[in-house]
């Protein structure tokens, strides 16, 4: 039974029916809407038959050729919307996409705002604590009646209110820290810091000379200390706040090459410092009419 059907199906695979010759004409007429009954049915049949042969026009009537030519020039106009509408469509598209991004940006803004608030909160906390410390220190200072000779503990004496103008970059000016509560005696080498203590104190009691003469490796801890505190403390009443400009110069002055030797610029800076020293000595030491402690004498020398 099954074998019988299989044979029929196999024989049907080779079976074909050619469409009637007039069918193509009817289809064509339906497409074009033409009612040209003059066109012979066989011609369409030929056309259908020879549709795979592109190189020949033989067998086609002039009407058919005209139809084909007209089809060559046939074009379909685009949908009737203007460039303006197109622009609007693009804008609308962009707007919708921007809207999506805006939501992401909002998240980013939130993160930024949170970060800003956090930073400011830390800043406020820091300032508030510093103010609190200052007030405590002031109170301590007010109640202290100890002789400056006797105290040896660390004492902090701070400015209750910061003056309107301060040295730029003198962040350490709010508090004067002293490890020694005694005014330094003369004839002794003044200790600028622990590092200076270890290296035997100031050279010739001169801060600049010490800095210029300092060994490169020895200077590094002192430089770190200067960078941290922005000042060199000699004793309770004597300290030097190192300005940002001067700190920058000092750092450049200690710049070294790969072989640990000073750079050309560092050497030049040292030479400049020595020139400054000589200029200062000429003005105040040789010319005895000038007094560096007098504000006018000092100003007219260093600001000219």
């Amino acid at each position: 039974m099954g074998k019988k059907y299989t044979d029929i199906l196999k024989s049907l695979t080779h079976w074909d029916i050619r469409p009637p010759a007039y069918l193509f004409k009817q289809i064509w007429q339906t497409i074009t809407g033409a009612q040209n009954s003059d066109v012979p049915v066989f011609a369409f049949a030929n056309f259908a038959d020879s549709s795979n042969d592109e190189n020949t026009n033989e067998g086609y009537s002039a009407t058919e050729i005209d139809i084909f030519r007209s089809l060559q020039n046939h074009s379909i106009p685009p949908p009737s919307f203007s460039s303006l509408k197109l622009g609007e469509l693009i804008a609308e598209k962009e707007k919708s996409s921007t809207g999506k991004k805006a939501s992401i940006l909002n998240l980013s803004n939130f993160a930024r705002a949170a970060a800003a608030v956090l930073i400011i909160a830390v800043g406020i906390w820091f300032i508030y604590n510093k103010k609190g410390d200052t007030n405590n220190i002031v109170a301590t200072n007010t109640n202290t009646t100890n002789n400056v000779n006797t105290g040896t503990s660390q004492t902090q004496i701070a400015l209750p209110s910061q003056p309107a103008n301060t040295v730029p970059g003198n962040h350490g000016l709010m508090a004067i820290t002293s490890k020694n509560n005694v005014i330094v005696e003369h004839g002794k080498k003044i200790k600028a810091s622990q590092h200076l203590k270890e290296s035997g104190g100031l050279m010739d009691n001169d801060i600049l000379l010490t800095l210029v003469s300092y060994n490169y490796t020895e200077y590094l801890p002192l430089l770190a200390e200067i960078k941290k505190d922005h000042k060199i403390t000699l004793d309770q009443y004597s300290y030097v706040s190192v300005s940002d400009k001067m700190n920058d110069v000092l750092q450049k002055m200690y710049a070294t090459k790969g072989n640990n030797k000073p750079t050309r610029k560092a050497k030049k800076l040292r030479a400049t410092m020595e020139k400054w020293k000589k200029r200062d000595e000429k003005h105040f030491d040789i010319n005895t009419n000038n007094n560096p402690i007098d504000i006018i004498d000092l100003s007219e020398f260093i600001l000219k």
């Binding site: 003056p163 040295v167 004067i176 003044i190 010739d204 600049l208 400049t272 402690i293």
Partner: protein, 248 residues
């Protein structure tokens, strides 16, 4: 604008808080302020000024070696000392009672060549000749320095130069020999400024102490110091021709 908005709000909160904190500090009146001015003259007195140099120069120059320095004035009965400490130099002036032949000594404490001058009153007056016949104009402008209410006074020198000062009357003034520039000021100057060319130097009191002062603070050093003789007509060096050795 959306980005800036949170920052603006945060900044506003920060400013409001900061103003509040500052207001507390300014309005507070520590007991140190209530100093009895009648006692100030006889008790030891120390004042430390911070020196701030403002320069109009683009390059870093010698002024930076004085910027950030300190000037301390120690006064105890008939003795006084002014000490300048800066990167460039440490120098002191010692003052003693008028009865001694050399009541003023100028001592350079730093450098390879340390020296001292012993000056008579007349010699010291030569240093301060510029302050003779000066005039002082007082104003109602005020400033709080170290929580002391300070009034403004402008000192006009005879040649037209002027010093702007802020002083407090809570302490009696120093002997005019110690600070000749302030001889007309009825108190202690806590801030003073001198403007020259494009820059200025500002001295602001950073610390005031009435603690006793060690005697050797007023002792003039001797060892290692060359005693120089003061010469009123010492050579004046033409420094206008000095080369430009500033740093870019």
């Amino acid at each position: 604008m959306k980005t800036i908005f949170p920052f603006l709000i945060a900044l506003l909160c920060f400013t409001a808080f900061f103003v509040k904190v500052s207001g507390q500090v300014i309005s507070s009146t520590p007991s140190l302020n209530k100093a009895d001015s009648s006692k100030a003259q006889n008790t030891p007195f120390t004042i430390v000024y911070d020196i701030v140099v403002k320069s109009g120069k683009r390059k870093t120059d010698i002024e930076e070696t004085y910027n950030g320095g300190t000037k301390a004035v120690f006064v105890n009965k008939d003795k006084a000392r002014i000490r300048l400490v800066s990167l460039m130099r440490i120098q002191s002036l010692f003052f003693y009672s008028v009865n001694t032949p050399n009541p003023v000594s100028m001592v350079k404490e730093s450098g390879k060549k340390k020296y001292k001058y012993n000056l008579t009153n007349d010699q010291w007056n030569l240093y301060n000749d510029k302050y003779t016949n000066d005039s002082c104009v007082f104003s109602n402008d005020s400033l709080f320095i170290l929580n002391y209410l300070c009034r403004k006074a402008v000192i006009y020198l005879k040649d037209g130069r002027l010093l702007t000062t802020y002083y407090t009357t809570q302490f009696k003034p120093f002997n005019s020999k110690i600070e000749p520039a302030f001889k007309d000021i009825p108190g202690v100057v806590l801030q003073y400024e001198y403007a020259y060319k494009k820059g200025s130097i500002l001295y602001t009191a950073a610390k005031i102490s009435k603690n006793p002062i060690q005697d050797n603070v007023f002792k003039i050093p001797t060892k290692g110091y060359t005693l120089k003789k003061f010469s009123a007509n010492s050579s004046t060096i033409n420094e206008k021709d000095s080369p430009d050795d500033s740093i870019d």
